[in-house]
Amino acid sequence: MASTRLHFDVVVIGGGPAGIAAAVTASKSGATVALVDDNPGVGGQIWRGEAQTASTPDAADWFFRLRHSPVQVIAGARVFHLESGKLAAESDRGVLDVSYRDLILATGARELFLPFPGWTLPNVFGAGGLQALMKTGLPVRGKRIVIAGTGPLLFAVASYARKQGAKVLAVCEQTSFQKMARFATATARTAEKMKDALRFAWELRGIPHWTNCWPVAAIGRDDLERVRLSHNGRIRELECDYLACGFHLIPNLELPKYAGCAIANGFVQVDDFQRTSLPHIYCAGEPTSIGGLEMALVEGQIAGHAATRNENAARRLFAERAACARFAAALRSAFEFRPELKFLADPDTFICRCEDVGFERVRQYGSWREAKLHTRCGMGPCQGRVCGSAAEFLFGWHIDSVRPPVFAVQCASLAMVSAASNLNGPKLNGGPQ
């Protein structure tokens, strides 16, 4: 396996809207910039596969700016190690050994999945999961699909699935009608969000939208056959081909935590200039708060300016960011989880899909660490990205440690890096190992 050495003034990790905005903005100052992403192309989750055919003017505009910037896009590269001024990433071309002056973490968010009986059955997907598969070619024409969970993403998935010819049977939202209504009123204050809402209302006409509704079981012998839902206190069942279920978003904190950035209330702590607690490390987008697309774009631009010492340009965007923060607050209160979601799993429902560890086995321990040590929960290849996040909600546990390598990689890649670096842990804060 080959190793390639590269140097940039600014490296941005994460090629979603925040990362694209950060990279493009930083490059305007004349700095050399790289945009590194794990996926085969940039766009993140929301703009997946849109580099050629953008779905909105905003997306088209940012992809255009990226194409016409000197930013070096490094896609298909998994960052698995960080240390002061350096990172290591594994790609099909070998290990990339990248040094930088400033680092912008734009690692985005992922869906939260909560376990319920049958959630491991084939044809049960994440909501964004099905969206991603459809966007990367999965045909759904004629498929009967139930979309469930919580958050505005459910509308986007329903709308996309319908456009691809699927028969969307229902959108099931766990929050109450009252909270949804308040959210609609709050978002109607910005023209951008109002446009989204009206578009979805039109695109989803005729599809039942049930509030106070959540999945209690996915049922089927070999594959999914039907889904059992709790709806306004009653149980109802729908026969379907696919269930797409996700419980809103959680920030991808593995890299910021690994670097040693201070975390507060589940998010990366940043100042007005998107600076983390560590020198030369910035953070933008969902890892600082689940705030949606506009927030990610403005934070990315602020980080890009700040990382290239254009504080005044950054300051001019503060008001826009403050406006976006109001939407983030509305999101938080609208899609708060109901307590019933903690009790969906049966004793033998797997919490950990990698190691097949059941709910009852995990629940008897007092902490995430203890549960890991005794049950292997969270010790599979996803490194607890699915079950650890669920356990935080289900049991109120705190997921403290992120260990190297931060991503499962080949031994050869590790050997490459450990020859030159200390792989025992991050060294960015200079603290004790």
């Binding site: 794990d38 996926n39 085969p40 989750q45 596969g49 298909g76 992922r110 869906e111 999945f113 491991t120 084939p122 044809n123 049960v124 997907f125 994440g126 964004g128 999961g129 099905l130 969206q131 991603a132 598969l133 990367t136 070619g137 999965l138 045909p139 070999d222 797997f350 899909r353 990698c354 190691e355 097949d356 599979g380 290849p381 996803c382 990205r385 699915v386 499962a408």
Partner: protein, 81 residues
């Protein structure tokens, strides 16, 4: 008609749309991506490289996340399921 690519999943030929990932090819082939520790068949789940349910062997390389790999002509995908 959109352009298609031919790949093989566990020996069977599958036509996928250009731009499809290996995970999509596995679903389209009606295969399962893997068998879990307890013997359950599994399919791609998160679609974004997080859950590792779609890991399979691609052109002889094991443990690849199918959702992060674009299909290429004559790609050889082997899933456990």
């Amino acid at each position: 008609m959109p352009e298609t690519i031919t790949v093989r999943v566990n020996g069977a030929t599958v036509e996928v749309p250009a731009g499809a990932t290996a995970a999509v090819a596995v679903v389209m082939a009606r295969a399962k991506s893997r068998v879990s520790v307890a013997g359950q068949p599994r399919m791609p789940f998160c679609g974004m490289g997080t859950c590792f349910e779609c890991r399979c062997e691609i052109n002889g390389e094991t443990q690849k996340r199918g959702c992060q790999v674009l299909c290429q002509r004559d790609m050889e995908i082997r899933s456990n399921g």
